[in-house]
Amino acid sequence: MGRHRHEKAYLTAHDAGLTGCRQCGKVWPKDSTQCGRCGAHLQPVSTASLQRVWACWWAGLFCYIPANAYPMLRTNMLGSESNSTIMGGVIDLVGHHNYGIALIVFVASICIPIAKFIAVAYLALVVGKDKRAGGHPHLVIYEIVEFVGRWSMVDVFVVAILSALVQLGAIASIHPGPAAAAFALSVAFTMISAQSFDPRLIWRGPKVSSPPHD
């Protein structure tokens, strides 16, 4: 549908002097503060909402550092203990020729978080200005970030399953390391950061005067 077509002008509720509910889509007069249908708080389209985006962005970045520096897993094999960080785990998998799984872990735990930090920061810096150039690509970036961000949690679940499962007495045992908590927090903060981003800011700027869409 509209997605792949050439970018054209769409009238937003904000342009029309109305407020759309971000929860349920109901449209209300401009100065309403609460949605009469679903009870959600109606936020005005404002760059003030970016403060929360940035706060959670920094918190996520702050947690991401120990998440990579400390061990994710502590493995005890026949009496010898080894610690592995996120990157160490990926290298380990490559060493055992599990390239597909190594790629999944690498993408989910390293590429996605870093790409997400960059994407959210980029969106927060460029939107809400008077120009609305690049609206459609920005919406695509936002959708990808929203869709993909939670998948980073996969590594936390891997640690949980391995630690619960591999308890073979003297032969082998696996315990979670402190990085698991830091990583989970980092993912959670970046998820909140992306959720706090108001996509309507992408379309703020000079008004478009096309009729509402069917």
């Binding site: 549908m1 759309g20 349920c24």
Partner: protein
């Protein structure tokens, strides 16, 4: 023209704020956002029944996933089994305890609560009766919980863990593993039938009083 628009005649895409004319659709029609393709309106009665049936199925599968054995490994005479619950509790000693609670919520708690909440909200609506009390709040919370319910991500995590263990020990998959896989498929089906706008509309128009 800005002053002449009547709010009641439109809906704004919750995703990108594009204004659309709101209208009632025939049973087989669906309305998507012209700009971002978000599903805006799905036909009411049929989709509600589907969502209820699938949520109910998902809850049964979830119960199976919790109570049946999940994974078991054997190596050199030692063996160990783990349930989904034990996997979540892997972080339960010491400082990592809050993480255990978080993981348990993401893989079992929130998905289960969401299924129950959907049934609570939709059940009276399919029968043409007004929504139960607090249906608005319940459904709003259900929507907000969605990104945090991570059952499908947990299954990918299981696959990764299985590969990591494969060289070390023999792994057998329990019924809970298959229940969880089925749960993912049912959840995806349910999501394809759900349209928030339509559910909100039904809650609002069949409100008591």
């Amino acid at each position: 023209m800005n002053t002449t628009l009547d709010p009641a005649a439109y809906l704004a895409c919750p995703h990108c704020d594009t204004l659309h004319h709101s209208k009632h659709l025939a049973a087989t029609e669906r309305a998507r956002c012209a700009r971002c393709d978000t599903l805006l309106i799905a036909p009411r009665a049929r989709s509600f029944i589907h969502v209820i049936a699938l949520s109910f199925t998902a809850m049964i599968l979830m119960a199976g996933a919790i109570f049946f054995p999940f994974l078991k490994i054997d190596a050199q005479g030692f063996s160990n089994a783990s349930s989904v619950f034990q996997a979540a509790m892997a972080f339960s000693d010491g400082l990592l305890l809050p993480l255990s609670i978080g993981v348990l919520a993401m893989i079992v708690g929130l998905p289960a609560v969401r299924f129950a909440a959907l049934i609570y909200v939709l059940w009276p609506l399919t029968h043409g009766r007004p929504a139960y009390r607090h249906a608005r709040t319940v459904f709003r919370l259900t929507e907000e919980m969605q990104p945090w319910a991570m059952a499908e991500i947990f299954i990918i995590g299981t696959a990764v863990a299985l590969v990591k263990v494969a060289g070390l020990a023999h792994v057998s998959l329990g019924p809970a593993f298959w229940a969880f896989c089925a749960l993912i498929i049912v959840t995806a089906l349910k999501n394809s039938y759900m349209s928030s706008w339509t559910i909100w509309d039904a809650i609002a128009t069949k409100k008591p009083i």
